[in-house]
């Protein structure tokens, strides 16, 4: 029997890896789907805590996925854990901003728990038409159109006036969308109050005077951290220090 040469062995190993990789991925997908199905079964049978355990297992091992986050948020909502529910709906919205189920459930939970935001000005309402990613994508789209028009003007001779008009429109829309994206940047990464007995304090000390309670599920925007406390502004404009353990970042890890 002839000994296998180095080049041949390398080829064989590569072939083996290429053959096994899709199989491995397929197995992992099947495992994920199995855990997900078990979580869904637990949810359907009313075992929301059990469902949360399965969904959390998926999230911690595989990362974030819209379906998992949405179902996890539903489970928390069914248990009355408003803060956790809103946190996971918000996370799911970051991945699928146009999903009507997520938006609907989020609005329902907020309304049921009287978590009403402040009255928005017309400019805030305009900014709220799209989220950060959608504004960013729109800005990119107009930049791309502008570039392509610029390129085509080398080869295709059209009316100068029409070309200029289209280019100016694209450029203005690009700057508008960029400005909106920058404005939305801060609002895209809030934290959520997850404790029901959280209070806003005047100073970052546990014995400091309180300026009032803050509802569980409120979106807050952290500004600075001092020791165990974070200085925040909530969605209604109230400011104060809150225990860092009482809030969780929408972008952070679970």
């Amino acid at each position: 029997m002839k000994p296998v040469t180095g080049a041949k062995s390398l080829f064989l190993i590569t072939l083996l890896i290429l053959t096994l990789l899709p199989t491995q991925a397929l197995t992992q997908d099947e495992e994920n789907q199995t855990i997900f199905n078990r979580a869904n079964e637990a949810y359907s049978s009313g075992d929301f805590l059990g469902a949360i355990d399965f969904y959390q297992e998926l999230t911690q091992e595989k990362g974030y996925a819209t379906g998992v986050l949405f179902n996890l948020a539903n489970s928390y909502a069914q248990l009355g854990m408003v803060g956790e529910a809103i946190l996971h709906y918000e996370r799911a919205l970051r991945l699928s901003p146009t999903d009507s189920d997520i938006r609907g459930n989020l609005e329902l939970i907020k309304t049921k728990n009287t978590l009403f935001p402040k009255e928005f000005s017309w400019s805030e309402r305009f900014l709220g038409l799209l989220d950060l990613n959608q504004w960013t994508l729109s800005a990119f789209f107009f930049l791309l159109i502008f570039s392509i028009l610029h390129l085509l003007s080398l080869k295709i001779s059209t009316s100068v006036l029409l070309r200029r008009f289209m280019q100016i429109c694209c450029l203005l829309l690009f700057f508008l969308c960029s400005a909106c994206a920058i404005s939305r940047h801060h609002q895209w990464q809030p934290s959520v109050v997850i404790n029901s007995d959280s209070r806003l304090l005047l100073s970052p000390f546990s014995a400091a005077a309180s300026t009032g309670a803050i509802q569980e599920g409120r979106l807050v925007y952290p500004e600075k951290v001092h020791g165990l406390f974070t200085y925040i502004t909530d969605e209604t404009g109230r400011k104060g220090w809150i225990a860092t353990t009482s809030i969780l970042s929408v972008l952070g890890k679970t």
């Binding site: 994920n32 997900f36 869904n40 949810y43 359907s44 009313g46 998926l58 595989k62 990362g63 974030y64 996925a65 819209t66 379906g67 998992v68 949405f70 179902n71 539903n74 909502a77 069914q78 009355g80 996370r91 970051r94 991945l95 699928s96 189920d101 329902l108 939970i109 049921k112 728990n113 950060l132 990613n133 960013t136 990119f140 930049l143 791309l144 502008f146 570039s147 392509i148 610029h150 390129l151 003007s153 080398l154 994206a181 940047h185 990464q189 029901s196 007995d197 209070r199 005047l202 100073s203 000390f205 014995a207 400091a208 005077a209 309180s210 300026t211 309670a213 929408v250 972008l251 890890k253």
Partner: protein, 603 residues
Amino acid sequence: MKFFKLLAFSLLLLLFCLGPLSVQAEITAQARLGNHSFPVDRVAKLTVLVNGAGSSKIEIPEVPGIRFHSRGQSSQINIVNGSYSSSVSNIYLVQASSPGKYTIPPIIVVADKESVQTEPIHFEVTGAGQTTSQNSGQKNGEKDNRVAFIRTSETGKHYSGEIVPVTIKAYFNPQYRTNINSLPVLKGDGVVMAPLSNEPEQTEELFEGKKYNALTWTTSFSGIKAGNHPIQLEFDATVLVTKRRRATSPFAGNSLFDDSFFNSVFGGAQQKPIKVVSEDLHFEVSDLPSQGKPENFTGAIGEFQLKVKASPTTIDVGEPITLSIVIEGKGNFDRAEAPVFPITTDWKAYSPTSDYSKPKNLPVGSKLFEQAIVAKVSDLKEIPPLTFSYFDPTKNSYQTISSAPIPVTISGPAPVDSQPNLVATTSSPTPKPIQPEREAPPIADLAPIHLETGTFVKEIIPLYKKRWFILACCLSVAILIFSSVAKGRRKNLEKHPELRLLKKRKQVLAEDLELLAKAKSESNSAHFLSICRQTVQHQLGLQWDIEPTAISLADIEKRLTTHPQLIEIFAAAEHAAYGGTHLSFETMQNYLETVQRDLEELL
């Protein structure tokens, strides 16, 4: 002249007409003593001000050891925006026969058959020659000349979280024109101050025998950690300083115009920023005692009362009752939480809403909690009592107060689903179960769960941080840069036609030379010479701007004297076109090199 007489008469008539109005206006009397502490060899001015009456009779009471000397009265009539008011000031000088503490009892004022009285006035008479203020030993010229200073009420010793009412007074010397630029701020750790009003009370006050304009804020301090905290109050102000003029007299004596009056008239003034800082204060804070702390104590410190009402009190099982729980009194209401409803199997309680209210200028407040409770069974007779615990700093102990049980009538069978129809009661608070039992009934109207996981991502990052998006943006910018450069070059060529011609000639020459090389490799002499001729014609045609085929040997000989070898090749090519010829490979190579070199020189 007649007109002015008529005008004066009309005004008088108007005053007479308005006179009766003052009778109908509310009559008030106020007594004010100019100095509440003065030596026995001095007098103090007592002013009794009667508003709303044109004339009045004042009955000065008799005070042993005190004599009142009347110094007459002055009256004032104001008509502002058609509103008429009158006031009469009666002035007395108060003299004491011996030092001591005195009180002027209420002074009775009778005006238009109506009797009103003033508040009693307490004052102190010191020995002859003594200064009059409480800090008499400190009085000196420097203090008299202070532009402004801050004083606060006593702070004392308190508990952490306790609300301590404090009065802050900023005194301004009326000799200076001063503007306040900021509200007083508290400097120091461990103590916080409630926000100050932008509209402090403005009064004229005597301090250490000197009159000041005073601003008064009523606020509160609260210690946030135990310890003896040194604190200060400070604010920014601007004082208008008159510039002193240089002496106008060249002599040693004072000139008439060296008077200080002229400093203000001709010297000008400048604004000088100052920082007014209070003396060091000490705010001593101690922790609440851990001994005897009730379980339901949430941090409320002060004096509170508890009132509980329920509505309705006659209901069916499953219907909500709204409890109105009022905690009122003095203290830190932010720590006053709703009393916890006892957790039993008979009642289901929902988290309460709260509403705090405090009348302006009063130290007391009240906090209203509204809580929905639902009876689960029908044999309940009363709502259990609620308890509230607080720490009373005056008694130095924890206090627990309870409400009385509220009788209720509950009828009907228990419902299958204990979730009440809370929508029916508008006053019911948020239907969220209280924290201890965090099991909410399933929410039926939630959108159902998803059956697909979706794509997993390791972290949620915004689009602009994703690699593919950054690459796409770079590509877009690259397209933009490329097209801009290309456009620039095109414009440059349009501006300089000779460059375009040169480019064209280079391109044509390259193509022709390629054909020549091909013909040479095929050893086809006739074709080679024909292409040589064509190449020369193309280049010269472009250079001379004439049709290439129209260029003859004669033209070249006439206009191209610098390149005889090229003429020779062109002549050979023309000859071959009519007579035929054979060239060796070396000759063709030689011709090719010559044509290439000469035509490149002509570019």
